[in-house]
Structure formats: C-alpha cells, structure tokens
Subunit: 274 residues, 3 copies
C-alpha cells in the first residue's frame, strides 16, 4: 500500500509544529508533553474552566484523556471540546479506563454525546465499553484478549461516531469510513511502561493537528510512529547491552524524536484488513 | 534468617500482577506507576470521590500517599480506605510530610482513625509525628537523625495500629508483631532523587497485594527490592562510567524491573534486631 | 567580569540545602523537584490553601509557577506569597503562558500586585505581557523573536517591580537595578524538552534561597547553571554516540547534579550589556 499520504503527516508536523491542547491526567502528562515535542508538535496543557475553551479555540488540535478524571475537568473537557468543534479544530479522545468505574463510563458517553471527535483511541476493553458492548475492563491496563472481531468493532464505531478509531493491542486496528488497517509494529516492553497509550494519543493529536482533514492517515501515522519507535528503542538498548524499564522509557522518547518519514515508510508493518 | 517467605512475594507479584490502586501526589505519581509495573503490579491511579471507593473495592491493594494533599482527595482517601477495608483489601499508608503542616498532621491522624492499615511507611520524622512523639519535620525530606530507639518506635506503633511499620533511613527498620528487621541495603544517591520514598511505598503496595496476609514479609520484601535496586543501579552506572541524578533515576527503574527473587536473596543485608 | 559572587551561590546552596517551596504545575513538577535536589536545594511541593502559607513561612524560598493554573491554586499562591513576604523569604515568579489566556494574564497581574517578587523569569512573550506591552504569545512555548530591546524591557520591569528579571531565549537577559547581563550558554535541544523553563525557575529558587539578599547574582547563577548543564549534556551524549530527547533529558539532570562552582566559572559565557 502507498504510505506516502501517511508519512507525509510526520513531515508536515515537524514543519508546522501544530499546537496540541491537552486536558489530560496527572500521571503521564509529562510524557505526553515531551512526546508531543518529540513528534513535532507544541504542547499546551490547560484544564481550568476559566481558560480551556479559549485555548482550545486557537489550538491546532485538542486531546481529551480521561486518565485521572475529576468532575471539574469533565466540565473543562466538554467546554474545550465544543470550542474546538466551533473553531473547526480536530479532537482526539482517549477514554482511559472506560468501564473500570461508572464515573468513567458515564463521562465517556457524555463526551461522545456533546463533542465531535476526529480520532478515538483505546484498548479493546475501553473501545468495547464505548461501543456499549460487554467488556471486562481491569483497571486501566486491560488484558489483551485477542479476537478477530476488532476490525468490525472499530469499523462500526467509526461509522457511528464519524471518527477514525484506533484499537491498540498486539496488533493495532485503525479504521475509518470503509477502510481498516492492521499494524503489527511495537514490542511487548511497551506494556511494562505507564503511559504508552496516552503518548500514542498525544502523537495522534500532533498528526491530526498537522492534517485535520485526514483522519485515517493521521490515525495510521501516529500508530506507526509509536510502534516503530518502540522497536527501535528496544534494538538500541540491545545494541548497547542495556535493559530495564527506565532505559526503555528514555529510548522510546529518543526514537520518537529521531523518527523520520523515511524510517516510517521503511519499517511500517501495515496492511489492509481482509 | 530464612528469606524464602520474603522473596517468594516478589515471585508471586510477577505471577499474579496485583492491581494496586493509588491515591497519591502529583509530584512522583508517574514514578509510582512505573515502579509498580516494574515490581510486577498493575497500577491504577484514581482519586475522584465519584470512583475512589468503587475502584478500591476491586483492587488487590490500596496505596494512600499524602505527598500533595488536598481537602477533596482526603475525602477520597477515607472513602477508598473504608471500601478496601470492607472488601478485605490491604492498605498501605505513606504519611508524607506529617508534622510539616497542621493540615498534614491532622490528615494522617484522621486516616489512621478511620482506615485500617496493613503497612505504614515513612521517615523517622513522619513516623514519630504519627506516633505522637516530638518531631522536627523539615519539609518532606527529613534529615536522617539516627537513634537506636527506632526499633522501639516501630514496634510500639505496629502494636498500636496492628500494621507493619517501615521506617526508612540509612538503616531501614521493619517491624510487625514482635519482630523487628533491620535492612542495610541502599545507597546515599537515593536521597538525591525525589520520590524514592513514594516508590518504595508503591512497591510495598505490590508486595502486600501479592500476599495480603503476610504483612511482615511484604514490608521486608518491598524494602529489600528498593534498597538492592539502588545498589545495583549505582554499580551499573559506575561500570558504564556514567554518573548524575538523571542516569541514576533511569537505572533505579531498570533494576527494579530486572529484580529476581534470587537476586533479592543473594544481596539482602537483613538481620533481626537485638 | 568577576564571577566569584555568582559561583559562590552554587557552593552555598550545596552547603545549606535551602528548602524551596513550590506551588507549580502538574506537567513538570517532577522535573522541578529533581532539579531542585540536583542544584543543591530541598524541594517541598504544597499547594493546598490549608497549608500553603504555613509552609511558605518556614521555607528558604518560594517558587510560584503558573504552568497549569487553577482558581484554587491562585488563592494558595497569593496566600503563600504574602506569608513568604511577611517572613522575609524571597519569591520567584514564573508567569507561564501569560498572554495565552485572559485567566493567565489576569492571574499574573494579581500576583504581581499582591506579592513582592525577588526574581521574575519568563520568555519574551510572557515578560512583555507582564510589562503590559503588546505580545504575541502562542501557547506556552513562545517563538524566539529576537530584538535588541530585551535589555531595556528587563531593566524597566526590574525597576518597576524591584526584582531581578530573567528573559530566556537564544541569549538570556538578566537585569537588576542598573545592571544587565547577557548569557550565551545553552543549546537548542533544550527547547525540544518540556519544562526547561520551569526547571530554570526552580534553580533560581535554590540560588535565591541560598542568598536572599543577592538578587542579581542569584538570577545569573541559576541562568548559568542551566545553560552550561545543557551544553555539557549535549557534549556527553555526543561523546557516547547517543542522541534523542529522552537521553538528553536524563543527561541534563545529570549535569545539573554534577555542576561545580569551578565549572560554572570556567564555562560561563556572560557579559555586561553595552
């Protein structure tokens, strides 16, 4: 398949430096800010109700991440989401832990009802919960349950919400319109690090900020950047005779910051479903 | 002494992946999440009153850390603590900065009155404050004041609260029931890093989550994992000709993630008091 | 020029370990705590209104950073600032994103009206906003717009507020009273990392905590420590054949923790303006 429209978004991001407004959690927020810079964007974290809408209305994209939800920030998420919608700015939504508590499930539903989303990303439990299917969420780190119906799940949700859907797992599923891509990049070490999902969501914010009209390509670009960076991070550590989660974390940031469109094309393990 | 019942908890943690619910501070929360993963647990950070009790009631253990206290999260701590108690889940409490402000001292006392604790961890100032003794807390990084009466302090507080007590310092003191262990692992570099205390508390959450009925062994296991990892981190940097606090931090995470029960047994400097 | 009064503050900081109270943002707070330790200080992060004033009144210095502003923490900032003023403790203010939203601009003005500041630090957009000049702030990462009138801007604001002013950019401008220093240390890689500005502000908190009466020297010392550490971090990575933002971050912390007064004097690129 032709990867040019996908890899071009990384090029564009580094060229235009989209301003990515985040309302996110306090666990991985620093990683999200640094990975946004590494991928070519400029992060702004602002969740006060006094400024959320104002900043969202001038940002290139808005990332809403439910990692550590609070009632006050839910209001800011909705206000910022509406402001982004009004200004034509794309919104990326990460329903972290949807299904793990009634509060999270309720909030995910409210955001999807009140805010137009461009890209939705989660693991299979979270996306299943959002889709109203039965789900067995266990905390925020869902077990990877496999299953061939992910493509269908992603596709039907994409149609229902009018957004690209990314379901991450051993194989990542990226869907929009009638297209489904499967991405086989990434390494198991990423699941031993907190925030790899959040970081991917931030990178999606950079990519859609660089090309708001290209939901499918932005979803694929972000997913590829993260997966390939994970592989290169592991390889760089092995070459240096190092291992462990602290070194892997730094190496992952390194590889996102060093990623080029050429590397993306060369290493992408992406295929159309079916 | 027989370290098998202690080291086995690390093995069990990696096998069972206990879900460790944290209500903690926003300074070291990312380190706490990553060290929980490194030690074999699965972290979930959730402090909203709307969900704290619900998540605590299904988690393997609950960690309450007062690092950056707010009135709203105090209510969540109490609600989550009671829910954990009702569900039979162990609670680890880190009274960060107790004695440094009236608010913190008051909150530590409230939590101990309303929530049943399995392991209490702090430096000597914080533990002294909790014990109602005179204390000279200076911010959250207490000077290490020495003193042979730590064993007595830990033991009497352990009996009063019915929990294991860990007092960290140059030598760590671990007490429960009639037993007191002294641990001499660890390196001075750890005190030049923020959050080593919080991280130890999270590891204690993993260990007690893996063996809720074994308070003394879990307290000792976590203390040993952290101290030994610090030693191995320093050694790995020295072998590579590197130094500095940023490298030490990554190396510390590395070594926790690479720790095995065998390494724990081989390197443990632990003895019974007296 | 004689760098002895500047470098001596680093020596003093490592000797006295000033307690630096922060009310800051949740994005870079961990970096701020770790860099405070690396520079020789002891960090305490506390923003609850119940304790902010009490802790500020005993700390060696107070750092107010608007990175992620909330209405509740604004009250804590004002209360802590007044308590620090009453106790004679110096206050460092970082008006992150002033001009990026009305809420931030309004808050910066309020803090400057109600709290006496010892050192003010920001990029040229933020400082221009504070000075009431026209500004084109774009998120919190302002473009470096150049301009020879920074010295004048810093000097006039320094006189108006009675504090030292640091404007960071390719060349950093440090002003107090009638003196203006220009600092040419630092590397471009620092702007690809979130929080280098916040970290500098924390180091300024350490330096002014070590010498409250020496605003100009403390402002220069902190600026030099950060810039030189950035150069040494880049050099250390190049020597090791490594690159990328994750490695650079760890190396930057390393070099601040390893910085000596001698290195500061030897590598300082500082000159008086004019």
């Amino acid at each position: 398949m032709n990867l040019e429209p996908i890899s071009e978004l990384l090029h564009r991001a580094r060229d235009r430096r989209p301003l990515v407004h985040h309302i996110t959690n306090y666990v991985t927020v620093n990683d999200c800010a640094n990975i946004t810079l590494a991928a070519g964007g400029s992060p702004v974290m602002a969740d006060a109700i006094e400024e959320a809408a104002q900043i969202a209305s001038v940002a290139s994209s808005l990332v809403l991440n439910m990692g550590t939800l609070r009632s006050l920030t839910v209001e800011s998420m909705v206000a910022a989401g509406k402001a982004a919608n009004a200004a034509g700015g794309p919104v990326v939504f990460d329903p972290v832990g949807a299904g793990a508590s009634d509060f999270r499930t309720r909030t995910a539903k409210r955001i999807l009802e009140e805010v137009g989303i461009s890209i939705l990303r989660g693991n299979v439990s979270e996306i299943s919960c959002v889709a109203g299917l039965e789900s067995r969420t266990r905390g925020v780190d869902a077990a990877d349950e496999g299953g061939a119906d992910r493509a269908e799940l992603a596709l039907s949700l994409s149609r229902k919400l009018g957004c690209a859907v990314v379901i991450t797992g051993r194989t990542d599923t990226v869907a929009y319109g009638s297209a489904v891509y499967l991405v086989d990049n990434g390494v198991a070490e990423m699941s031993n690090l907190t925030g790899t999902g959040c970081m991917l969501t931030s990178i999606l914010g950079v990519m859609i900020g660089a090309g708001p009209e290209r939901k499918l390509e932005a979803a694929a670009a972000g997913t590829l950047v993260m997966g390939i960076a994970g592989e290169l991070a592991l390889a760089s550590l092995q070459a240096a005779g190092r291992q462990g989660s602290g070194s892997f974390r730094a190496a992952l940031h390194d590889q996102v910051s060093l990623m080029t469109p050429e590397t993306l094309v060369r290493r992408a393990k992406i295929r159309e479903n079916g």
